[in-house]
Symmetry: C2
Subunit: 910 residues, 2 copies
């Protein structure tokens, strides 16, 4: 039986492989083959299939013996086609050996150039080229790369020699000495031996720790292995009529349709990226080597049309002759991705559907948030790295107290709020700050969720910093940053910079905010056009989570088709309402509580009115009060500390001291009495806070449990909703309120609250003479609701998955506390991804599927949505599509992402 083909030749306008064979040949090998097929000038070579890499590992990291003969046959074929031979005095063959897996892993695996050189062939080449510096330079590079990649010698070992010596035979001798000394074996003079060792080293480089880490980050499977490409060398460093360069067929940062790249004359490939010499813009190549430049433009344009995508290419010019060394689809920023996709549709290169497919949903983020000027950021020092919770760039002076942030922002300062962690008490400061940095918390901690909700750059769980809020400073390693010092945070990368990194503003946000007209904003136009194509493709509806009219307005502009979650409690944290809320909580009788609620009613009503007006005609899902009441009160520890401090001031001693000095001061007894009174007040407050204190507030007295024990709260909220709806309906607008009961686990909880809603709705209808159409549904947040969904669907008219809580309960992970172990879980592959970022389809997802199946068994037309953080996560949106949900609801700033992801799902992306 013939075994599977393991080697694939390319060159001389022919190839055994093609662009479709990336699985087998890797990206580089497949594209080299494709270029050869197209008749482009590609130096000949062959690719060892990825299969061999797997066999190599299965064979205890040894090249399989049975393939050796075939390997040598391909070496001979390369010699034949190139007309050169290894070690041939007349025409010695030199080759490059490069890795190349299916997915690009830039810089991760190893490359060896100039292989085939040895002491003899170097001599021959000097004679042949009459270019001694060139040959020794090539040889030096080979020794360095071979020493590093094959023999595991740290490149710095060569540094002294490289720095102090001239390139020449002595340097080569010294390099060989180093190799012998460090590796215990001399540099192999036999080219075939060199080649075999290099080939095996490339296979081994697949499992270098850095490569493994990279694949973990990029979610590339570890099992696919790398191919090895062995290719005849061509030289950009043979003289001034030689060059080497890289380029893109369009600008990968902006998407502009310009030929883009850089090159160096008389250089080898690695020099362009090494940063020792500054490469020149590719346009200048036309001045130096016009013919080659024209040929390069023609070839790359053809490649772009052939691949119907931007090409990222590498080339070398040897004595004026152009060689193509690589081409691939170019990576690009979100900005460029959108522009290129839309442009290519305009150019009829691709169909709208393909354009939609080309843009990764998360790339849209980059279009929305202010960015650090890419030209400037490298000047600044990175002092710490945390979780990139909410993308975007923010600079400002550091403050540790939300009140201070508000104060200093009022004085015109740009501020950043830095805290160990944030709580709802900090919201006012978060609104005002440019961005938020916390030392603790995960991707769905308070700071992260609110940050994304606000579209505010945020870094959380930055354990590299230690925040001392009392001293008003934080440490990052041995650097101390004090209140008022300037830092910058990149919420996209998670990096914290010392100093003020300049930013550039997002065009699209200017349009959304009404600061600029859409028609004058080309990027916005492209963005809107792309999304309009996505809308035609997707089945899932997309709504937004919005609590205030401004957010609702942004949501509509971003294309939201309704509000999927209005968190009424956020309305109570406002400065003018918190005291009334506290009054309500501190009330000891139902009457007093009702009094406070009566004060809140008109405020809530006007909130809802604003929302209904903004969302004209779209459904608005309003959730009744959800968080535990103690979130509205001062913190327990703070009160305890205050009281202890007041007490420790020892009024009796003070008084004694004062009595001795009564004559020369005001009455000290007044001060003592005042202190006693303050202690009593604080103790009273503490007593109530203690009563409300919970060990695990996330699973405590919250959600519908509040509405059940304090029905008057649900009554007030329902009344506010229906009074507002009636007022807006009177003005002729359609209003579609959907009242949503949170944290329901048992059908009776739902019934209890639904009865109140129906009763109050009827009351308002009677009082106003106008009936509003509405529905009452529930969140599915606790696993019990999932397994009892059939029963709950008897009563609930819609379901909305609160996947934050559902994930918490399903895993038993407190989202605020996972920081302590989630990093290790991800690094050790215990979990494939953070379940608070992307839905855990296996566990949580299974509960979601059970819910939908059971719910629709009872109520076939049951509307089902999701309003957790996952509603704006593309992978999760795709899961929602395939699970049969009706809509996802995301923060306004994620609505576009969700629209695009929903289209991807409809296109079958998984």
């Amino acid at each position: 039986m013939k075994s599977k083909k393991s080697f694939f030749f390319f060159g001389a306008n022919r190839a055994e492989g093609s662009a479709k064979m990336k699985d087998i040949l890797g990206g580089k090998g497949a594209n080299l083959a494709e270029m050869a097929r197209l008749g482009l000038p590609v130096p000949p070579g062959f690719t060892i299939a990825t299969d061999v890499c797997r066999t190599f590992y299965a064979n205890n990291k040894k090249f399989p013996l049975k393939l050796q003969k075939e390997f040598l046959r391909y070496v001979r074929k390369l010699e034949d086609v190139s007309g050169k031979r290894f070690g041939d005095p007349a025409n010695p063959l030199l080759v490059s050996v490069r890795s190349g897996s299916k997915f690009s892993m830039p810089g991760m695996m190893d490359t060896i150039l100039n292989l085939g050189l040895n002491d003899k062939t170097a001599e021959y080449l000097i004679k042949l080229t009459n270019n001694e510096p060139f040959v020794y330079d090539c040889y030096r590079r080979l020794l360095e790369m071979f020493g590093d990649v094959v023999l595991g010698i740290d490149r710095s070992e060569f540094d002294t020699v490289k720095r102090e010596w001239n390139v020449g035979p002595e340097m080569i001798g010294a390099y060989q000495e180093i190799i012998k000394e460090k590796s215990g074996q001399p540099f192999p003079q036999d080219p075939i031996k060199q080649l075999e060792m290099a080939r095996d080293a490339v296979f081994k480089s697949w499992n270098k720790p850095s490569a493994i880490t990279y694949r973990n980050e990029e979610k590339i499977p570890h099992t696919i292995g790398t191919a090895v490409n062995i290719q005849m060398m061509v030289f950009g460093n043979l003289g001034t009529d030689c060059a080497t360069g890289v380029g893109f067929t369009r600008n990968p940062a902006t998407g502009e349709k310009v030929f883009y790249g850089e090159y160096l004359t008389n250089a080898q490939g690695e020099d362009v990226v090494a940063g020792i010499r500054t490469p020149r813009p590719i346009a200048e190549l036309s001045k130096e080597m016009l013919q080659a430049f024209r040929q390069l433009k023609t070839i790359t344009s053809r490649l772009e049309r052939h691949y119907r995508d931007v090409q990222d290419f590498e080339f070398t010019i040897e004595h004026g002759k152009l060689y193509m060394l690589q081409t691939r689809n170019g990576k690009r920023t979100g900005l460029a991705a959108v522009r290129i996709a839309v442009d290519m549709v305009r150019e009829k290169l691709i169909k709208p559907e393909e354009a939609v497919r080309r843009v990764e949903p998360l790339q849209l983020n980059q279009l929305l948030h202010p960015m650090f000027d890419p030209k400037e950021r490298s000047r600044f020092k990175v002092i710490a790295k945390g979780l990139n919770a909410s993308p975007g760039a923010a600079s400002g002076k550091v403050y540790f107290d939300p009140d201070k942030v508000v104060e200093m922002t009022g004085k015109g300062e740009q501020t950043l709020l830095v805290r160990s962690e944030t709580s709802p008490d900090d919201i006012h400061g978060m609104y005002k700050a440019q961005g938020v940095l916390t030392a603790t918390g995960g991707m769905t901690s308070h700071a992260a969720v609110v940050g994304r909700q606000m579209g505010k750059p945020s870094i959380v769980g930055c354990s590299a910093i230690k925040v001392d809020e009392e001293q008003r400073l934080f440490y990052a390693g041995n650097i101390t940053i004090k209140e008022g010092d300037h830092i910058s945070i990149d919420g996209t990368s998670g990096e914290v910079f010392l100093g003020n990194v300049p930013t550039v503003e997002s065009e699209i946000m200017q349009v959304i905010k009404g600061e600029r007209k859409g028609k004058d904003a080309p990027l916005y136009r492209d963005f809107a056009l792309l999304l309009s194509w996505a809308d035609k493709i997707r089945r899932l509806k997309v709504r937004a989570n919005a609590d205030i009219p401004r957010d609702a307005e942004y949501a509509v502009k971003f294309g939201a088709e309704g509000i999927g979650l209005c968190r009424t409690e956020h309305m109570f944290f406002a400065e003018d309402r918190l005291p009334i809320m506290q009054e309500m909580i501190l009330a000891t009788t139902r009457e007093d509580r009702q009094k406070a609620l009566n004060k809140l009613l008109p405020l809530q009503r006007s909130d809802f009115k604003g929302l209904f007006e903004t969302m004209k005609g779209y459904p608005v899902t309003i959730r009744t009060l959800d968080p535990p009441l103690h979130e509205f009160l001062p913190k327990r520890e703070e009160l305890m500390v205050d009281i202890a401090t007041l007490k420790a001031e020892r009024p009796t001693q003070d008084a004694r001291l004062a009595s001795a000095s009564r004559l020369w001061r005001g009455s000290p007894f007044g001060a003592a009495a005042e202190r006693v009174q303050r202690i009593a007040e604080k103790e009273r407050l503490l007593a109530r806070v203690n009563e409300l204190h919970e060990f695990n507030p996330m699973m405590g007295h919250r959600g519908c449990r509040l509405g059940i024990t304090y029905p008057e709260i649900t009554e007030m909220q329902t009344r506010a909703i229906f009074e507002a709806a009636t007022e807006v309906a009177r003005s002729g607008k359609t209003v579609l309120p959907e009242i949503m009961i949170p944290l329901v686990g048992h059908i009776n909880e739902f019934k209890n609250q639904a009865i109140i809603v129906h009763r109050v709705a009827d009351d308002v209808a009677k009082e106003t003479g106008r009936k509003i159409k509405y529905t009452v549904g529930t969140m599915i947040e606790v696993p019990r609701a999932a397994v009892c969904a059939d029963e709950i669907a008897n009563e609930a008219q819609f379901f909305s998955f609160g996947t934050n809580d559902l994930t918490q309960m399903t895993f038993g992970f407190s989202r605020d506390d996972t920081g302590r172990f989630i990093r290790q879980y991800l690094d050790d592959k215990i979990l494939p991804s953070d379940p608070f970022v992307t839905i855990d389809t296996q566990g949580v997802g299974q509960l979601i599927k059970i819910t939908i199946e059971k719910g629709r068994k009872t109520r076939p037309a049951l509307k089902v949505g999701i309003c957790g953080e996952h509603g704006g996560d593309p992978d999760s949106v795709i899961f929602c599509h395939f699970s049969g949900l009706d809509y996802v609801s995301a923060s306004p700033f994620r609505v576009a992402i969700a629209r695009l992801a929903a289209a991807h799902a409809a296109l079958g992306k998984t």
Copy 2:
């Protein structure tokens, strides 16, 4: 079509009903019918079926018109059979009207006696009986009962007249005046009208608030309704040859086979229970009315044999003639239940299977815990009532600090630990205290769980008390109880008494503790015999949760067939280990952590050795470390308060002051420096506590998450287990360790820990040359594990449901925080029972069923058990039986209960 039969006559040795018709006739009516059938002397009467009660409510609380004719026909039939007629001057009929539902609801619904009396019939009766006081007494009672039950007049309205006036015509007049004034209508003179009003009032009394509450407590359905019994009056108050009484065929408190009861001569039924006159022991009746006494003994013995159970009966003797007014199966204490069941088997009245069925598993509790002397407890004042978390009686001096409890117990005091709540830090105090009382927490709060585990009487969630730990006192209403004051708590009822209520010790516990021999303890013998019958019936195995050899020893004596849960962390709270544990936690390097672990290793090893030795041959399931590490450190708030207090002592001012007075004191700078140092120390500790602080520790860094981030802990624990097992195996004993990984949600978590266990087990086997057979399994505690059980069963060799956590996560209920709403949830019937006490079969139970189904699909022989608190709850044990579990594991003190419940399940009880 003929409608359903609504009225059932009894009397004159015949009856239309029978004992089997309790659904229709209620308990009282069915037994009256049965007695009539048996030819016993029952005054004639008829029963209105429970069906009519339902119709009554459906008919807007009106008696259905269409039944009125039939009703009157039965009244006439009663007149015919009794030979008396309503209002007949010659022989006026008087009747009683009593409620009677299927389930006994003592004192809950209403009764009216002497109905048929009016101004005229009273006159007739005086003539007929020549007993004016008797007639006016009867009339007075009727007016009072009718006023209360039918017309809703508070009985106290009659108090002044009753106290100050003689029974006679003036009193009757005054009573009638009160009735007219308070109800707005005169007392109806027409007996039929009286009867109709009384009948309807009895139906209405079914839904009195107190009756509803009672049914809620006793889990009696609200829909079954009550029957009404209308029966000819016979009079125990016609003179000294008349009497009335109640009794039991055996002693319902002890089970002793003695004729038991009390009676009053010349009295009506209500007098016996009212406590105005002191009733006399029934034995004395033989001296007063020998013939009636003999007849009563004969009849009740016959009834006991007929019903094959202890009878609780009521009788009246009218002029020497005995009438039976009621019989029913008697309620009894646990003590009596066991003795009676076993005795009746001995007497061949019932089969062992029936005896097993007769004892409610929870009744066994009463046999284990010390009890308040029933004769003494009524002397003491109940000052508060909380949740009856752990049954039994305890008295002692109140202390608020576990250290103080240890100290005072050491001095020979009986102590009670009173806290707002307890934490693992308090364990040493809880061990020493007689009982525990907390103001907060639910039935599975720390205090409750540990209380039951220790078999220590505990009342938790006693919100009626306010604990001020700092002032060392608590308030119960306006009573202040200070440190050292005496109180008593009844963990069975939840009552807190002021003072020292005397207790009696449990015989069975004396045997278990080895203080008494089983063969000399008759109650123990009955108990053991009954359970041996249960063992033959049950399929479920029963294990115990035990952490220390002493508990394991008790468990074996209680019949445990293995340890289902050994919580290794409890071993670390011991006084000699906590400091090492803290050292381990505070370590900043792996090396330092390892050092501390090395110190813990021999201690753990000896713990396990003790367990293995005690459990000779039985399996021992050992769970690796579970709780979050901060449980082992001081509390965060306490540290914060300490630091604030130290700081507020303002060293600078102190120093200034001191410098002015340096001459007459020691150096104050030393004290200041010392304070600064103490602050620094505490701040260092606080920093670590802060690092470990969690918002929701129950869902935080605990369970296998600890073992994953600190693999060296799992290593140490595994090594301790296998070294101990090897040592015990060397002595020739069988050892069956089962290592259990807690809080697994994802298969990879399990794999990670199982690899460590297998590796260390192999290491120890190599070191010792002896292989120990063992298994590695997992707890099923998080919903994710349930839905992914098929995958987890690929690796895990057994499952054990941690239903405490599973309930927490499934509901999203923190067991420590449910106190705030669970009472209302139960009262409002939102939940049928506390899910931390009885498994929520619908939600949590569904996850359990999914787990078993999926787990056994992968591994058909998978062993599945339960080790949550529910393992000792009879309803939950029954659920476990029917769900196909292999075993339940309960606290040692619940093992007997579980054995009995498992037998009940096998007998088909649901």
